[in-house]
Symmetry: C2
Subunit: 201 residues, 2 copies
Amino acid sequence: MTDSDKNTRHQARMARKKAMIDASIARADQEKGLLLVLTGNGKGKSSSAFGMVGRSLGHGMTVGVCQFLKSRTDTGEEAFFGKQAGCDWHVLGDGFTWETQNREQDIATSQRGWAVAQRMLADPRYDLVVLDELTYLLNYGYLDADQVLDDISARPPMQHVVVTGRAASETLRDFADTVSEIADVKHAYRDGIKAQQGIDL
Amino acid sequence: MTDSDKNTRHQARMARKKAMIDASIARADQEKGLLLVLTGNGKGKSSSAFGMVGRSLGHGMTVGVCQFLKSRTDTGEEAFFGKQAGCDWHVLGDGFTWETQNREQDIATSQRGWAVAQRMLADPRYDLVVLDELTYLLNYGYLDADQVLDDISARPPMQHVVVTGRAASETLRDFADTVSEIADVKHAYRDGIKAQQGIDL
């Protein structure tokens, strides 16, 4: 096949593709506040939520972020996004559950954290609410899953919510508009590389 | 089981978990510039790269971003990150290939774009380089894959590179330190919801 043939075929193929894509864009014409769930064992769940924080701030939207497990406040994400106008950032954890080793303390911490999330989910001034690592609190039973889903579903209709964390439950997935499952195909950590600034924290 | 039993068992289980995790952290003690590949059909590949941009800026790192397919400059990510000190943002596309329908034009655009990436990959002042939607240019054959991999592997040793896009090749995966495959379990788009500001653009 000559280069000219290749170019002609390419043009025809792309014209067909454009027609399909345009029709599909025309069909997707509704707007609403979305519930997105980013789960799975791979790298990129929280990072992806933080990318959406940046996108939202770029459109002048107001964003609330609850980091439920994290207790450290030396992360790049907090240093950067926490100081941005329009971004309300809360580090709500006491460290991971295996650090505290104290179930009652973890439950109390989780419930205090959820009260912060509830305030955001009840407030239409927040266009996006990120509930980072929420799944762990649900899976350990530190929060009541029914209460959490009730609060999420009663939020203002145009408010987006992003939930991250491994092993999102079937109920949470059913409830969500968009679910991405991030598989850990390969991770530098297993080759002895420690968590890297800018990439992992 | 009483609450007190539950708490005691929890403490023992978490103490074992902490010992395992601490040992695994102690084993991962190396630092190097990573190549991360975010692929798959699900939502969250570019968002995740942009989250790492935010994290890196929070640590005072210098970041370069090449958006290879995108031609629109009204996205939230560009509005937000493009104006940040330490972030060098380039929108290098002519639109998606089905918009131009012109293979020769797409090849020329891709090669001009790659020259921008090459400059970043050769410059140790960049701590992180994001090559957003690069896989499409490789999969369509618009760029020479060997050249691209040579340029990535010749970069400064502490520079991180994040590549996004569907259908990353086996070669690219082999080459990477971390690979996440993002599965599209569910997407609001298929329910007629259009791309939402802050979430998708």
